[in-house]
Symmetry: C2
């Protein structure tokens, strides 16, 4: 008896088969029933990996730093997976090439798996796709899963919030340092890294972060984010960074046991909302949603009353009264 393809694939993922992992991540990227079934199959084998989120603007040397981190992690014998969320664009297309270069750097090391995910074409589901890809790497036996993203917008905050620790990368000479620091990144950093620390202005960035952190009063039980100087090109400081990640992990285990649960909660709500919209698309008569959009566009209906009607129809399908008799 041959096993069904899904059982076979999930067994091969759990066994750490690189091609199966790549195939599985493609499935969850597609966001179809096969990807969801795969997650259901592997889910009991997940929950062991420690998720490390790293975000920083373009040009901060993120990829180089992650490569150094991989070497550091591998030196202690741990298996590591990397999900690089790359904003590919019709104008660039650098993701695939960069991926190949990095794969080569760790070629032959079966303890490293690197995968790029595009930020486009996911219609807001990128955080979900990233989380599911991390589950695949988790099930495949990765001890550490690194999720790297570009930029510090809400999407990046969402993705990095799905990790156990968030590392924010800064760099000297990137314009108005202090303003950039103020603009929303202070809240998400568990560790701040000032990379390219040999450059002029590195100490000013460190001081900027430090003085911003000093505005908040940390009591003894709270985690005060350390600021680590690194030079990714030489590897200087990367060992310190990795030790700080370990310190944070120990701290979080005792002081922040609720953190993972909050993430699972956010995730469930996200999947639930998406499911409902898919259901609406399935059960509404063809063309009806378009007509409602048209009515809102033409101001003959307002969006909130349309939503109220749709909710009534979805939740009480037995009393499906034609829309125009209802009001």
């Amino acid at each position: 008896m041959t096993p069904d393809p899904l059982t076979d694939l999930s067994a091969r993922v759990v066994a750490g088969d690189v091609r199966a992992i790549a195939r599985a991540i493609s499935l969850v990227e597609d966001d179809g029933p096969a990807g969801r079934d795969l997650i259901r199959a592997i889910y009991p084998r997940t929950g062991r990996a420690f998720l490390v989120g790293i975000t920083g603007a373009p040009g901060t040397g993120k990829s180089t730093l992650v490569d150094r981190l991989i070497a550091e992690i591998r030196s202690s014998g741990l298996k590591v997976g990397v999900i690089a969320v790359d904003p590919t664009s019709p104008f660039s297309g650098g993701a695939v090439l960069g991926d190949r270069v990095r794969m080569n750097a760790h070629a032959g090391d079966t303890g490293v798996f690197i995968r790029s995910m595009a930020t486009r074409g996911h219609l807001g589901g990128l955080a979900r796709a990233t989380s599911d890809a991390a589950l695949v790497l988790d099930a495949a036996g990765c001890d550490i899963v690194i999720i790297e993203t570009v930029g510090v917008g809400q999407d990046e905050v969402d993705i990095v919030s799905a990790a156990d620790i968030s590392i924010v990368l800064l760099v000297p000479g990137a314009g108005d340092d202090l303003q950039a620091i103020k603009a929303g990144v202070m809240e998400i950093g568990d560790i701040f890294v000032v990379n390219k620390a040999d450059r002029e202005g590195a100490d000013r960035v460190v001081q900027g972060v430090a003085s911003n952190l000093s505005l908040k009063a940390y009591d003894a039980s709270e985690w005060k984010p350390p600021i680590v100087k690194t030079e990714a090109t030489t590897g200087a400081g990367v060992d310190t960074l990795w030790k700080d990640v370990g310190r944070f992990r120990e701290w979080a285990a005792t002081h922040r046991p609720e953190h993972r649960r909050q993430r699972y909660r956010a995730r469930l709500r996200d999947v639930l909302a998406t499911s409902f919209l898919q259901h609406v698309d399935r059960v509404l008569p063809a063309g009806e949603f378009d007509r409602l959009v048209e009515a809102v566009s033409e101001r003959t209906r307002d969006p909130y009353s349309v939503v109220q009607d749709l909710m009534n129809r979805m939740l009480h399908p037995e009393s499906r009264i034609p829309d125009h008799e209802r009001r």
Copy 2:
């Protein structure tokens, strides 16, 4: 007979009463039933304003440029409203102060209304709150509504996508210009502005944008984003920028009639998803969602099967079978 408070408020908004507008925007920020009722009441009076979205990293001189634009718009007699989406943080708190300074610059001009909205505490609903605030300004008779945001993340893309035109602000000397340009902003710009054009490197930024744009083949019917050099501190170039906005508006009216409808569609889906989650919270027995989150966290359930069960229970409430008998 005194009118009910909501009818009174919406009438005063439509009459352009500044205090009523401020009160109405606060209501839609709160995201309660009162805000939704207000939008329903004013909705038939909306749809006239042209929405201008402006995004740029911190330090690009966005506020100064918007102030110049306001002056330019006012010189042609149009009424203008501004929604400044400011990432306030426990570390900064500059939004309110900046707001007051800007209000003073246009003090006494009843044709200008400026309002800041914080990016925090909106739990993903910022794009909704911004859209509703724009509807208030629209109903109040603003001919132009400017929505300015900081950064180029997904949240900013969502907010700026709710506008009729998207302007991307760049500035010389902000680190690796070309990389920043590649990282997702090329797609959303209908016009690119290189501000602080008197600075060294301005032409390099212009060339960088131009060479990126040249990678895409624009046919005659397509809009090829112009690149405008400005000096917001002196006002140089702002008249050219405003003329390009006008050119785009004319082009979009004939070449992109579907654009607004697509925005209304995205908006409806967003409101619908939020409504459903609120319904789930209302009807689930107390503590049940927490127990499901716990089960997912403990790996005794997987997220996709939990969502499937919840969907079944919400959509077929008559057949509410206890969860454990269902599987």
